[in-house]
């Protein structure tokens, strides 16, 4: 029975919406907030890195741009009802997308290698700017956001629901892309860009659009994060490890899939927070991270979901093949040739 994707998606969203009503403890809601953040960002990264095949290593720069944009808009520490920062998020997303547009135009004219170089350099430049533009960002002293006036008992909930909304946006866009001409264009670019251009795909336009949307969403998540933390510093708001996390999660779950990035985020973010807390002074944090990354790339290069699909497909094929040979064998032995019948009796249980 095929469950239509709408129902599946709807079921997932319903679960997410109802989860907090189970009376979950604060520390768990806190964990969910971070998982949702990374799930959204990974889904957004997937648009550029997974579908288009352009591995952006600088997405964290836009995370930081989103965080600082929100901080700038709320320099005045007094909030009326605490929801203003959320209403302003679309503007933050637009800012991210608008900054991403020229970056994409410049860097996507070239190959994927140079694209990665430009994005990673952009990341460090944004970090440097965050440090140096004192008047704008507060520099190394950091930038403060107004304290969210939500009651302690339900503090995490507004953030949680806003992030659910953002995740639905990211996944919805991914879903729509996969089913549209845009999606086909992206995939064709990833497969062979020159050919794609040859057959008339507007490669530059498509790539730049995907990149802008992707970084716009990332910027919005950055804004939510800034509000949640309450105080941001350049080296944490614009942090290469955030990019690596997004990339790793998408890779783990499966690039170019709808659910892959979400799965990767659930596994890695929850796992990482748990490990860091429980294992305490395990100094091997970075080493473990890097090793997991390398193992995924080498052993599961396509990610969990596509690998599962491949295995299942192989098994189906084998089953079908076995079934076919079995049928053929039965046909052969079902004949009334006494020699073969005896043969069969001798083999299996006889009739005598």
């Amino acid at each position: 029975m095929r469950v239509p994707s709408i129902l599946r998606g709807g079921g997932f969203v319903a679960v997410l919406l109802l989860l907090p009503l189970l009376g979950l403890q604060h520390w768990f809601l806190n964990l969910l907030v971070f998982v949702l953040m990374y799930a959204t960002m990974s889904s957004a990264w997937n648009l550029v890195g997974g579908f288009a095949g352009y591995p952006s290593l600088g997405h964290a720069a836009f995370f930081g741009i989103g965080a600082y944009s929100l901080a700038l808009m709320f320099k005045d520490p007094v909030l009326a009802n605490g929801y203003e920062p959320f209403f302003v998020l679309p503007v933050v997303g637009l800012i991210g997308a608008l900054i991403g547009w020229p970056i994409a135009l410049i860097s996507m004219r070239t190959r994927a290698d140079v694209f990665a170089i430009v994005t990673i350099t952009f990341l460090f430049v944004v970090q440097t700017l965050a440090f140096n533009l004192h008047d704008l960002t507060g520099g190394a002293q950091g930038a403060a956001l107004p304290v969210p006036p939500f009651p302690a008992a339900s503090f995490e909930l507004p953030f949680y629901y806003v992030l659910v909304l953002l995740l639905c946006l990211a996944m919805g866009l991914t879903f729509a892309t996969m089913r549209s001409k845009l999606g086909l264009s992206l995939v064709s670019i990833r497969a062979d860009e020159d050919k794609a251009r040859g057959i008339g795909v507007r490669t530059t336009g498509v790539k730049v659009l995907a990149f802008s949307v992707s970084v716009g969403i990332t910027a919005m998540v950055g804004g939510v994060w800034a509000y949640y933390e309450g105080f941001i510093y350049p080296q944490f708001a614009v942090d290469p490890l955030v990019t690596i996390a997004m990339v790793l999660m998408t890779f783990l779950g499966g690039r170019g899939t709808l659910w892959g990035p979400v799965l990767g985020a659930v596994i890695l973010e929850a796992g990482q927070q748990y490990l860091t807390y429980q294992l305490g002074a395990v100094q091997l944090y970075l080493i473990v991270y890097a090793l997991i990354f390398l193992m995924i790339i080498l052993l599961l290069p396509r990610g969990i979901l596509p690998t599962i699909e491949d295995r299942l497909r192989q098994r189906r094929r084998r089953q079908r093949a076995d079934a076919a040979t079995a049928d053929a064998a039965l046909d052969l032995t079902a004949g009334s040739d006494p020699v073969t019948t005896d043969h069969v009796d001798a083999l299996g249980g006889g009739t005598t």
Binding site: V3, F28, H134, G139, Q141, G142, F236, G256, W259, T276
Partner: protein, 417 residues
């Protein structure tokens, strides 16, 4: 590639399963209301939680803080604990990340239900962490978050366990310089400041006071943290020929500034470095012991201090961790002082819950191995640091007179002597 229907089905199933697993985990823990109880029964342990940076960029200082906390717990338990309860430190690692530190305090307070919490290392992590503590009405004694933004939050549950806010650590130098007879005071000053939440404000505070007193600023430069090459900056300092050089520094840049000045063969008459010059072993090893003479810095704890509990602390530290008094990192002393305060509140009030701690510490002064501490309503301590100077290869407190072990040497002798 675009997914087949089968994959969509499978992947949806996998994600829902994972989500269910998360929910199950949540429910089990939701029903698990165990953990350290808040009952005042005198034999249950007093669990104190803290998130410290055991890995990542702040790791070395984070470990010094850990040693301080653990040492205090060990010492106080040997004396019978706090109000008869044995102290258990629950220390977790935040990998120097503000995201993790928020989660850690959430977990400590809401999942493990610790009785009290202490602060993490660095203002960067203290700010978000203190908000979490405030939300759940936990007191927040913290040994390492003293930047202005920490106090700008106006949290009544926060107490910075050092003699004064970090930006004021240069004030004692200004106090001393301005106390000199007019003809011996410097006339011109240069300021080299690291762009950082602490270093630059310290130098700026000094500059405000010097300018008000008529000491002319002949050069000022704020440099970013990644600056590795100081030749350009220090050449300009040399060209301006100041009487006094005020460095708002951390460690590496302090060493680099001194080394560059040695190479440029310029020695100012007065030199103050807010950090770097106050580390007893690192500084001479990095710049050369013969170059340290006369350089000044600020500090809170120092070996040989006669403040409350200092000797016992130093002795216990050496016995537990080895080394000598000179190898003790100040962060350990500051962490230890947090514990001393808990003991003091318990002894004075007979209670040790968060509300009591918050209300008690806001009144009066409290003796610790850093000196007597008292706080304003936003957690800023109202004392002052000590001015220390390198004399004969050792760091010696020279001002104010009450704690001075030697007279200050000025003008600063030339390099190598």
């Amino acid at each position: 590639m675009l997914q087949s229907n089968r994959l969509r089905r499978r992947s949806g199933a996998v994600v829902v399963t994972a989500a269910l697993a998360l929910v199950l985990g949540a429910c089990t823990s939701a029903s698990n209301n165990g953990g350290a109880s808040a009952s005042p029964h005198s034999t249950t342990p007093l669990v104190i939680g803290a998130s410290i940076s055991l890995t990542g960029d702040f790791a070395d200082s984070g470990k010094a803080v850990q040693r301080g906390y653990d040492l205090w717990a060990q010492e106080v338990n040997a004396k019978g604990g706090v109000l008869g309860r044995q102290v258990q430190m629950k220390l977790v690692d935040d990998a120097s990340s503000p995201t993790q530190v928020v989660s850690n305090y959430q977990n400590l307070i809401n999942r493990d239900k610790v009785d009290l919490v202490f602060g993490p290392f660095s203002s960067l992590l203290t700010v978000p962490a203190s908000q979490v503590a405030k939300r759940y009405a936990y007191s927040f004694l913290e040994p390492a978050g003293g930047g202005p933004k920490v106090f700008a939050q106006n949290l009544d549950n926060l107490f910075f366990v050092q003699p004064a806010p970090v930006v004021k650590s240069g004030d004692v130098f200004a106090d001393w310089v301005l106390s000199l007879p007019a003809d011996q005071q410097p006339k011109t000053a240069a300021y080299t400041e690291l762009d950082d939440p602490f270093a630059s404000p310290i130098a700026e505070n000094i500059r405000a006071r010097f300018e008000a007193a008529g000491i002319k600023t002949v050069y000022k430069e704020v440099y970013p943290a990644e600056t590795q090459d100081f030749s350009a900056i220090m050449s300009k300092v040399v060209a301006a020929n100041p009487d006094v050089l005020v460095g708002g520094t951390q460690n590496e840049d302090a060493y680099a500034q001194v080394k560059t000045l040695v190479q440029l063969k310029f020695s100012p008459k007065f030199m103050f470095l807010s950090n770097g010059a106050n580390s007893p072993l690192e500084f001479p090893s990095k710049v050369g012991a013969q170059n340290t003479q006369g350089i000044m810095s600020a500090g809170d704890w120092f070996p040989g201090s006669t403040a409350f509990g200092s000797d016992a602390f130093a002795a216990a530290y050496i016995k537990t961790y080895g080394g000598s008094a000179d190898t003790i990192d100040n962060s350990s002393a500051e962490a230890f002082a947090c514990g001393q305060l808990i003991e003091a509140v318990a002894t004075k009030t007979g209670k040790i819950d968060n509300a009591t701690i918050i209300s008690s510490l806001h009144q009066g002064t409290w003796p610790t191995l850093l000196g007597d501490l008292s706080w304003g309503p936003n957690g800023a301590p109202s004392g002052s640091f000590n001015l220390i100077q390198w004399q004969g290869g050792k760091l010696v407190p020279v001002f104010p007179a009450a704690i001075a072990k030697a007279a200050p040497i000025y003008p600063k002798p030339n390099w190598g002597g």
